[in-house]
């Protein structure tokens, strides 16, 4: 009887065990077969375009190649290297995927001269009209507290890596069936003698199972389950499959809330380059990190990491993965990890990308579907903007010794395309946090003025020479209060031409103009240019009592820089699905929002802001003949310091202030302007050079009086653009003689008959 019970019990236990194994087997097989790593979207910067005639300098080219971790070599070997020979640079470009093509790896020869790129040729010597570098990976969109990874195919894995993993972690990988009893026994023996866990007996398969299916709690039940799962996996999948899974799965580092999973991402995370390009010592370091990503963190504990790497190299040498002298040579190399600062990490920009995409994609698509996102970020401009903000704020802090550290934000665009090429959300650019560029909503201050003047010009009753009164005024508000604005200097300037009122940012004159054209009209101009909400229709709106974020300010000013056309600011150009088949383009759109003529007249006045008004201090930074237009802004009590301005190819908006909204003691000219000027001076930007519309003519007026001058009779003159046929009062003694006028008319007549 007892025996029967025992047999039955045994049978039952076997059955239960068998069933459990079947269950585990099914679970493992199913999950593993349908395995799809959640693939965070990868975000890329704009590629650098290479073409004859590009103003790219050698220094800029080298910086770009350095960002992409190209190695300078004497003889081109493989993609990711370049060499220099006099004016000639040979670049072995890596293969890359773009929204519109798969570009295979190719060798290009560039000739660089004083004015930039003189020629681009392929390896057969043929001229290549246009080529581009691969886009720089600038980050990924991973779930909060989630795993980030770049999946690699077996072809992208250097053969050294699996060999090293086997040598160091699992010598019998090729032959065992998921578990390695001998290795377990050895581990038990070693650990028992040491009295603590010193050696793991886990095979690579077990490590994979543990990472893929289980959490890290170590209990006997879990160990058993892990072993069963490993055996089950080995029953169904080949070694190559398992190795590839391991390489893509395993945890290799923590970066804030981001878990660095797999060797593909680890290679980018630690070395800033693709896995396929790692050398012996770099592969060894990654293999070393497997054992304890935080204990052997090469950035935080370089000595530990190095000791372990050298041990890995020694084992690799001993077990014939590499030659012993190769191991020695590799062990003599430094770790070679990138510092965080030099890595591409632009949290404020990524934040904008993420917000943009939330409109069109579910969060899950972004964090799991393996999308490739191509953005407009220009690393060079971004670095320049970060650098300008950090350095100038440090200088201002030293000068002003305020109650706290100044903060700031900057947005840079290419006005014609609406591409946002740089965003700085804080002076601590390496940390994600409060993104002031997108979220700090502050009074617009005098940045509003050009839009008041634009509205005035559009009525046809004003031009740049129109005399306006800068005089004390009081406005009775609906609630019975009286509003009495003042100039910044607390002085009044009497009758002044419009161009001067704008250049010197005179409050009283501006309020006069604004009240004359009407608050609703001014509000409408702001909204058509891109202000996303209706501003309160108080007279104080005319002095900038309208809250905007730096990004919104950039959107509004972009219309001035783009000749009266609104172009939605874009960070994302296109998104490609993981299989490369679906492409979503975020296309360029333009909408006319103001007559190009009126905008031209305003832009010419904004040029005078830079020549002789509140923007003049910028000239010390900028190349002498660079034409720029811009406007300073200061909110009441000097709480916000703004500057918005543009050249022919760039628009930049800078805000400086305190997070707690305390007064800074800075005007737009003393706070934001130096940041703006330093930023613009490093962009290699081109002059603002819009051709004057045919319905306008240039005229010269005396700056203080606005009277027209037609001869060389006085020094204090400025050029303005006015509608053809505008009769401007001429300064006595400065008119062209009457005969001249006759000649002029004769000329027009002559031209008419010749046509």
């Amino acid at each position: 009887m007892l025996r029967r019970f025992l047999v039955a019990g045994l049978l039952l236990a076997l059955l239960a065990g068998g069933l459990y194994f079947l269950y585990v087997d099914r679970l493992v097989t199913r999950q593993f077969e349908g395995r799809r790593w959640t693939l965070p979207a990868q975000v890329y910067a704009a590629p650098l375009e290479l073409y004859a005639g590009s103003p790219l300098t050698r220094e800029e080219l080298e910086q770009e190649l350095a960002r992409l971790r190209y190695r300078k070599v004497d003889r081109l070997e493989r993609p990711g290297t370049y060499r220099e020979q006099g004016a000639r640079v040979d670049v072995a470009l890596r293969a890359a995927r773009f929204a519109d093509e798969m570009r295979p790896a190719e060798i290009l020869t560039l000739t660089l001269g004083r004015n930039g790129v003189e020629s681009v040729r392929d390896s057969t010597g043929q001229d290549v009209p246009i080529a581009r570098t691969e886009p720089l990976l600038i980050g990924s969109i991973f779930p909060t507290h989630g795993e980030d990874r770049i999946v690699v195919t077996p072809q992208e894995v250097p053969p050294l890596l699996p060999a090293a993993l086997k040598a160091v972690e699992d010598r019998k990988f090729d032959t065992h069936h998921g578990v390695d009893p001998e290795s377990i026994l050895r581990a038990i023996w070693v650990n028992a003698r040491a009295g603590q866990i010193e050696q793991g007996g886990s095979t690579l398969t077990q490590q994979l199972v543990k990472s893929y299916f289980l959490n890290s709690r170590q209990t006997l039940e879990r160990k058993l389950r892990e072993a069963m799962m490993a055996v089950a996996l080995e029953l169904h999948f080949g070694k190559a499959d398992l190795m590839n899974a391991y390489i893509n799965e395993i945890f290799l580092g923590q970066d804030g809330s981001r878990a660095v999973q797999g060797f593909g991402l680890a290679s980018q995370f630690y070395f800033g380059k693709p896995l396929s390009e790692l050398d012996v010592s770099e592969v060894a370091l990654l293999v070393a990190i497997v054992r304890g990503p935080s204990y052997y963190d090469p950035r935080r504990h370089p000595d530990r990491a190095r000791a372990r790497r050298d041990l890995v190299l020694k084992i690799m040498g001993e077990r014939g993965v590499i030659k012993p002298d190769e191991a020695l040579l590799a062990a003599s190399k430094p770790l070679g990890v990138t510092t965080r600062a030099s890595g591409a990490y632009y949290p404020a920009y990524l934040d904008f990308v993420r917000r943009t995409l939330r409109r069109d994609y579910r969060e899950q698509d972004l964090t799991e579907a393996g999308l490739s996102i191509y953005t407009s970020l220009e690393p060079r401009a971004q670095d320049q903007a970060e650098n300008a903000l950090e350095r100038e704020l440090a200088r201002l802090d030293r000068l002003h010794k305020g109650p706290a550290k100044l903060e700031g934000a900057a947005v840079v665009t290419s006005p014609q395309s609406g591409d946002v090429i740089a965003i700085v959300g804080s002076r601590n650019t390496g940390f994600s946090g409060f993104n002031r560029a997108l979220d700090a909503r502050r009074p617009f201050g005098s940045l509003v003025k050009p839009f008041i003047y634009l509205t005035a010009l559009e009525t046809g009753r004003y031009n740049a020479a129109t005399i306006v009164q800068d005089q004390p005024l009081s406005v009775r508000l609906p609630e019975g209060k009286v509003w009495q604005p003042e100039n910044f200097t607390r002085q009044t300037y009497g009758p002044v031409p419009l161009v001067r009122a704008l250049a010197e940012s005179l409050n009283l004159a501006t309020v006069g103009v604004g009240l004359d054209v009407g608050l609703p009209k001014v509000a409408q101009t702001l909204q058509t240019f891109g202000l996303p909400r209706a501003p309160p229709l108080n007279p104080s709106m005319l002095l900038g009592a309208v809250d905007v974020t730096p990004l919104e300010a950039a959107q509004i000013y972009n219309g001035l820089a783009n000749g009266g056309f609104r172009t939605p600011l874009r960070a994302v150009r296109s998104v490609i699905s993981a299989d490369g088949k679906e492409v979503k383009a975020f296309a360029l759109e333009v909408t006319p929002v103001a007559p190009p003529e009126a905008v031209y007249e305003v832009d010419r006045m904004l040029e005078q802001v830079m020549q002789r008004g509140t923007g003049k201090p910028a000239r010390a930074w900028l190349p002498a003949n660079l034409v720029v237009a811009g406007k300073s802004g200061t909110s009441s009590d000097l709480r916000d310091s703004w500057f918005a301005g543009f050249s022919g190819s760039h628009l930049a908006v800078v805000w400086v202030g305190y997070d707690n909204n305390q007064p800074t003691g800075l005007t737009g000219s003393s706070g934001a302007l130096p940041v703006w000027a330093r930023l613009m001076s490093g962009l290699g930007t081109t002059s603002w050079s819009v051709t004057m519309p045919e319905s306008l003519a240039e005229a010269w007026i005396e700056y203080p009086t606005g009277l027209r001058v037609e001869t060389n009779c006085t020094q204090d003159v400025v050029p303005i653009a006015v509608p053809v046929g505008t009769q401007l009062p001429v300064k006595p003694g400065c008119g062209a003689n009457s005969l001249d006028a006759v000649v002029e008319r004769a000329g027009e007549w002559l031209r008419d008959i010749m046509h």
Partner: protein, 186 residues
């Protein structure tokens, strides 16, 4: 810094003025001696920058008289890089890949953002996509950039005309067509 510190750079308006003056001096030589020395305003640090890779701009010349300043005629062309990209965009567009064609044209526009010919090309792609409103806007943007180039202006008006007709605004379309033909008789 005073404006006079800047080296003299000219706006594009003066060549026409010069031609005019030359014509005048031939026609009214007698008056020439009576003319006051031409007024030279303090040089303005403006005018066009170095021409883009493809755009034809007048070269530097004499200081300009104050009035009248008329834009010199010019003719926009595409540089080699943009030419190659436009050819690629045409292929993509003919193959029905309008989005890709647009992306390719945008790539060209990053190289020559001020070239109206590229905006006209992009407007054509928008028309192919049946996005007449954007085609119209592209035409107007091109028009604003094409100052002084009657041929480019005419192309922009053709595009605008087409986009108007595509939306059934035939009367306005005909007017736009007339403006095109007045600039560049076919």
């Amino acid at each position: 810094m005073q404006p006079t510190d800047f080296p003299g750079r000219r706006s594009p308006h003066s060549t026409r003025g010069l031609i005019l003056l030359t014509a005048l001096s031939l026609a009214v030589t007698a008056c020439n001696s009576l003319r006051a020395p031409p007024y030279q305003p303090p040089s303005r640090p403006s005018g066009p920058s170095a021409p883009g890779p493809g755009s034809a701009q007048p070269g530097p010349g004499q200081p300009q008289p104050p009035t009248p300043s008329r834009p010199a005629p010019r003719q926009f062309r595409l540089g080699p890089a943009a030419t190659a990209l436009v050819a690629q965009a045409h292929k993509q567009s003919q193959g029905g890949q309008q989005e890709l064609a647009a992306a390719t044209l945008e790539r060209a526009m990053r190289i020559e953002p001020d070239n109206p010919l590229l905006w006209i090309e992009l407007g054509q792609v928008r028309l192919n996509e049946a996005n007449a409103a954007q085609a119209d806007s592209m035409g107007r943007k091109a028009l604003a950039l094409a100052t002084g180039d009657p041929q480019a202006q005419a192309s922009a008006w053709h595009l605008i005309a087409e986009s108007l007709r595509a939306r059934g605004r035939n009367q306005e379309g005909a007017e736009a067509e007339q403006r095109a033909n007045a600039l560049m008789p076919r």
